[in-house]
Structures are given as structure tokens and as C-alpha cells.
């Protein structure tokens, strides 16, 4: 049930509408309206991009949607060198590269055990997990700080990666559990009779089968880890440990009058997630909808 809506959705995203041009006036009006709304939706991006390439003088003297006549690329190199921006980029990259695959594999293991091994308490655990998908972690920033602090992990990579995994587990387990449940018993039973352990079945049979779902979750998780702000704000106090969202926030505070550089900093913060999105668009949709909307 979960997989079907996911695939139908991603197909919907993929297939280009090649309908015969109907001369339906309502559809034409609708299309024009959509075009206008889409342009409004894009306007902030265009505005930010243009401003990021303007000198301070050009920002104040030219119109917002006037393309920069003499692109000031130095805004990017200057912003990069200022206010720990480069080290924030590196920290974000390290945390994301460790957290995302690690969290996903742990979630997949747990989801497999919950879905495919008969346990008395698996229903209760699953309920606990589903509950976790709904709870706002913003509520627990202070106790989270206290906990990580008492473990001596403030301003360390594990100190932020472990909570990130903890808050990523519920959603991922929930999705993967649904997916594993849908895989027919026969696939694993033959192997079980042959004496294979669940570790082998998980690794050899189930992991390969769920690769598309894993890919979708991987990409969603990449973006949300890259973008995370609130937890990083309390767990990373030392500015040399800051991630990109923290770096951008402080950049805004310190150099808010350097419009060109500020906007260059915004572009650089947003770019990695945007590129990932544009390349893996269809996975986003399937990753999101497979969990939330069922047939």
C-alpha cells in the first residue's frame, strides 16, 4: 500500500505531460495564473541571486530585479573568507556525511527486526517509534543540552550526530517498517530454512530490495541534516564547531549591511541542498509521500 502511492507519485513527477493541446479556455487561464504564481514563487531566488552579484553601490542604486551589469564575484570569495564560513561549511559536510548513512543503516536494521522477526514487544516498540515522529524536538532543547553536556559532548561531532540520529530514527523506521512488511514472507523463509541468520537475510535480501526507498530517505535526510538549526544552536557553542546554518545566522548579525556578501552567503548555504534536490527530485516526492499518504 505504501509503495504503490510512492511509485505512482514519482511517475507523475517524471512523465512529461504530452497531451494534445486542448483549446480549453479554462485550462489556458489556469496555466497563465500558474505562470504568474510560479514567477512570484521564484522572485525571492532571483532577487537573492542578483543581489549576491552586486557591489554595495549597485545594490543601493539599481532596481531589485535589474540583473547585475558587472557581476561582483568577489562577494562570494569575500563571504567565504569571513566569519568562519569556510569552517562552518566543512563542519556541516562532516556531520552530514557521517550522520546520514549511519542513521539510515541503524534505522533499517531496527525496521527489519520489527517487521520480520516475531517479537512480543514489537507492537509496543513500533508505537513508541511512531509517537516519536510527531514530537517536536524544539520542546526539549534545554534538556538535550543538559544531557549532552553531562556526557561531556558539547562542541563535539558525536554530541550533535547522536541526537540527530535519535530524532531521525522514528521517521525512517516507520517508513522502512511499512516497506519491509509489504515484502512477501516467501522471500526470507526459504533462506531461513536453509539456515541463514537474520543478519544475512537482512544484508543479502532485504537491503538490496529496499535500495530505492533507502535512496529516497538518504536524500531527504541529507537535506534536513544539512538544514538543521535549533539543535545545533544549543549543542555547538564554540564557533569553530558551528554548522552552516549557524554560520549564516551569525553572518547576518555581523555583516548585515554588506548586502552583496550576505546574499552570497545565503546562496552558498542553500546551493548544496538545491543541487541535490534538482538532481534527485523524484526521490524527494516518493520519500515524503510513501510515509504520509497511503492508498
Amino acid at each position: 500500500m505504501t509503495a504503490t502511492s510512492a511509485t505512482s507519485m514519482s511517475d507523475g513527477f517524471e512523465t512529461v505531460a504530452v497531451a494534445k493541446p486542448k483549446r480549453d479556455p479554462i485550462l489556458i487561464a489556469l496555466w497563465i495564473t500558474l505562470l504568474v504564481v510560479a514567477l512570484i514563487w521564484l522572485a525571492p531566488f532571483i532577487f537573492i541571486l542578483f543581489t549576491s552579484l552586486k557591489t554595495q553601490a549597485a545594490v543601493t542604486s539599481t532596481g531589485a530585479f535589474m540583473p547585475p551589469t558587472d557581476p561582483a564575484f568577489e562577494n562570494y570569495s569575500n563571504a567565504w573568507g569571513r566569519g568562519n564560513f569556510a569552517s562552518a561549511f566543512l563542519n556541516s559536510a562532516i556531520i552530514t556525511v557521517i550522520k546520514v548513512p549511519l542513521g539510515l543503516i541503524l534505522s533499517a536494521m531496527a525496521a527489519y527486526a520489527l517487521a520480520k522477526i516475531r517479537l512480543r514487544f514489537s507492537k509496543l516498540l513500533l508505537l513508541l517509534v511512531v509517537f516519536g515522529t510527531m514530537i517536536p524536538f524544539q520542546v526539549m532543547l534545554a534538556p538535550l543540552f543538559t544531557l549532552v553536556n553531562s556526557l561531556g559532548l558539547i562542541d563535539t561531532y558525536p554530541g550533535v550526530i547522536l541526537p540527530y540520529i535519535a530524532f531521525g530514527v522514528p521517521y525512517q523506521v516507520f517508513i522502512l517498517h511499512g516497506f519491509f512488511k509489504g515484502i512477501p514472507k516467501e522471500l526470507s523463509e526459504a533462506a531461513l530454512i536453509d539456515g541463514a541468520s537474520h543478519f544475512t537475510i537482512f544484508r543479502r535480501i532485504f537491503l538490496p530490495v529496499c535500495l530505492p526507498v533507502l535512496a529516497a530517505l538518504l536524500i531527504l535526510d541529507f537535506v534536513s541534516t544539512w538544514n538543521e538549526f535549533a539543535m545545533a544552536l544549543v549543542l555547538l557553542q564554540d564557533q569553530h564547531m558551528w554548522t552552516l546554518p549557524l554560520g549564516l545566522m551569525s553572518f547576518q548579525g555581523q555583516f548585515s549591511n554588506d548586502y552583496g556578501q550576505l546574499n552570497a552567503a545565503i546562496v552558498m548555504t542553500v546551493l548544496p541542498a538545491t543541487i541535490v534536490y534538482l538532481i534527485f527530485q523524484r526521490y524527494f516526492v516518493s520519500g515524503l509521500t510513501s510515509g504520509a499518504v497511503k492508498g
Partner: protein, 299 residues
């Protein structure tokens, strides 16, 4: 694989598979959640070795003496109502439109979804600059249209700041509702739509009597997710206004954070968190029961 020989019991294997994820989840997610309840009955500045038990004093303080709590509460209610109405409504309209066979509809979908993947803190930074009363986008547009008198200090005027923040939030979150509705629309029976069309039903009637009933599940899901994500609103408020001016954009999540991490009263911060937690649970539990019933009905 000597491990395999020692662990023939499938229950042991299950435990080994479950343990890492569950331990991390329990320690770093569930424990802080329980701890926030304990903290809400204590007086603590975050450093002192002693955490004296003070009973309901923290709750009494936030309900009766804290001048900001009820402002934050009221703003959270207004915010949540706006979040339940507007992003789902715009998302549904976009989904219905983009479910038609239109030229370049995939490009349109991609454009409306793009803001969803951008860091909320970057959205805040972008919009703070667009709201700049001197060089910002809105000032510029209104000036070019000759509407200078409409120019506001978007984020500095306490009567408009909350709505300015919401517009930025709307821009970011519409794509999320849209995608969920688009997925839901794939489940609307085309046979029924065709049958209704042949029977002479117009667009509105097809929508009203075929599409809308088929979307009921999706609508519930979108509304619940909207409530939950609206209660979580933190980054965008923090980045745009920090709760100001004069607490006019202060909300419960941010105020709990401010009490604990900036005023260093962890007990009061925790009490605010517990209030927010209870509100969330009041939405989540009925929803979970509803989904369970729904699943049982499906099977």
C-alpha cells in the same frame, strides 16, 4: 561470522538489530522528553549541583506572573490557525491545478516545492533582507508601483510582524502540502471521474462529489501535519525577529528556549515545554488512533 553460530536464537538476533537505533532513540530523544517533565517541577539554573523540587511553582509562575507566556500562547494559537488554513488551501489549489495535463507542469511542481528544501534559517535570512524597509524587495516593488504609503516596517512594527513572518513561512511550506495532495489525487478513481463526466457533471460537481470525498484521508493527514509543524516553528521566527518586536512574534517553542538557554531558568522553560508537549500530544494521540482504525479497516 562466528557471531552467527553463537546467536541462533532469532530473538537474540532481533535484539542485536534493534539495539543501536533504539538505544540512541531512547537516550537522546525519549529521555530528554521525560526529563523535561521532571525539570518542570524543579528550580535550576543549568549549572548548580542542586535541583530543588518546587512543586507547581514553575507552572504557577508561567500561568499567573510571566507577562510573556500568554502573549506567546496567543501568538501560537493565531499562528497555528493560519498554518492550518492557508498552506493546505494554497497547496490543494496548486495540486488540483497541477494534476491537470498542462504544459510544463513538472517544472511548475519543482518550482513550488523548491522552497521546502531550503534551510528555514536561510529562508529567514532571505526574507529579512527582502523585508528591509529601505532596500528590500517589497519596498522596491511598492515604490515602483507608486504605493509608497503602503510601505511598512514589516518586521519592526508589532502589529504586522507576526503576519510578515507567516508570509515567509507560507512561501516555504506550501510546496509540502501540494506534494501530499498530489499524491492523494493519484488515488482518486479516474473511472468515477469519467462516469461523472459522462453523466453531465461539471468541473465543480466532479470536485465536490468525487474528488473531495476521495481526498478525505489526505486532507486529514495534511491538516494534522500542518498543526504539528506549526507548533515546531522555531528557526524561522528565531531568524526573522527573535520573537520581537515587543514579543509580538514570540511563540511557545521559542519562549521555552529563551527561558532556559538565555534567561537560564530551566524549570520555567521546561514548564512551557510541557505545556507545548501536552498540546502536541492532544493532537497526535487522536490522530494515531484514527490512523490505526483506518489501517484496520483497510486490512
Amino acid at each position: 561470522m562466528s557471531l552467527r553460530n553463537r546467536t541462533h536464537d532469532p530473538r537474540v538476533q532481533a535484539l542485536i538489530l534493534l539495539a543501536p537505533a533504539m538505544l540512541i532513540y531512547v537516550i537522546f530523544a525519549l529521555y530528554p522528553m521525560l526529563n523535561v517533565v521532571v525539570l518542570s517541577f524543579q528550580k535550576w539554573n543549568g549549572l548548580a549541583p542542586q535541583r530543588p523540587f518546587v512543586g507547581l511553582a514553575n507552572y504557577q509562575y508561567i500561568f499567573t506572573q510571566d507577562p510573556v507566556f500568554w502573549v506567546a500562547f496567543r501568538n501560537t494559537v493565531i499562528w497555528t490557525i493560519m498554518c492550518v488554513i492557508f498552506p493546505p488551501m494554497v497547496g490543494l489549489l496548486l495540486a488540483l491545478s497541477l494534476n491537470q495535463k498542462l504544459f510544463a507542469r513538472n517544472t511548475f511542481r519543482a518550482i513550488f516545492y523548491l522552497p521546502v528544501i531550503i534551510a528555514p534559517i536561510a529562508v529567514a535570512t532571505m526574507w529579512k533582507w527582502m523585508y528591509d524597509p529601505f532596500f528590500g524587495l517589497f519596498t522596491e516593488i511598492l515604490t515602483s508601483m507608486g504605493l509608497q504609503s503602503w510601505i511598512q516596517d514589516w518586521l519592526g512594527d508589532k502589529s504586522v510582524a507576526l503576519y510578515s513572518v507567516f508570509v515567509a513561512y507560507l512561501w516555504q511550506s506550501v510546496g509540502f502540502s501540494m506534494v501530499l495532495f498530489l499524491a492523494g489525487l493519484q488515488n482518486v478513481s479516474q473511472t468515477l471521474v469519467e462516469a461523472a463526466r459522462i453523466d453531465g457533471a461539471g468541473r465543480w460537481n466532479i470536485f465536490r462529489y468525487v474528488t473531495l470525498p476521495a481526498l478525505r484521508t489526505t486532507i486529514t493527514i495534511v491538516l494534522v501535519l500542518s498543526v504539528i509543524s506549526s507548533l515546531k516553528a522555531f528557526d524561522i521566527v528565531y531568524g526573522l525577529t527573535g520573537g520581537g518586536p515587543a514579543q509580538s512574534t514570540q511563540m511557545l517553542a521559542l519562549w521555552a528556549f529563551t527561558q532556559a538557554m538565555q534567561i537560564f531558568d530551566f524549570g520555567r522553560g521546561a514548564a512551557i515545554s510541557v505545556v507545548l508537549l501536552l498540546i502536541t500530544i492532544a493532537v497526535v494521540i487522536p490522530y494515531l488512533r484514527w490512523t490505526q482504525k483506518h489501517e484496520e479497516a483497510e486490512q
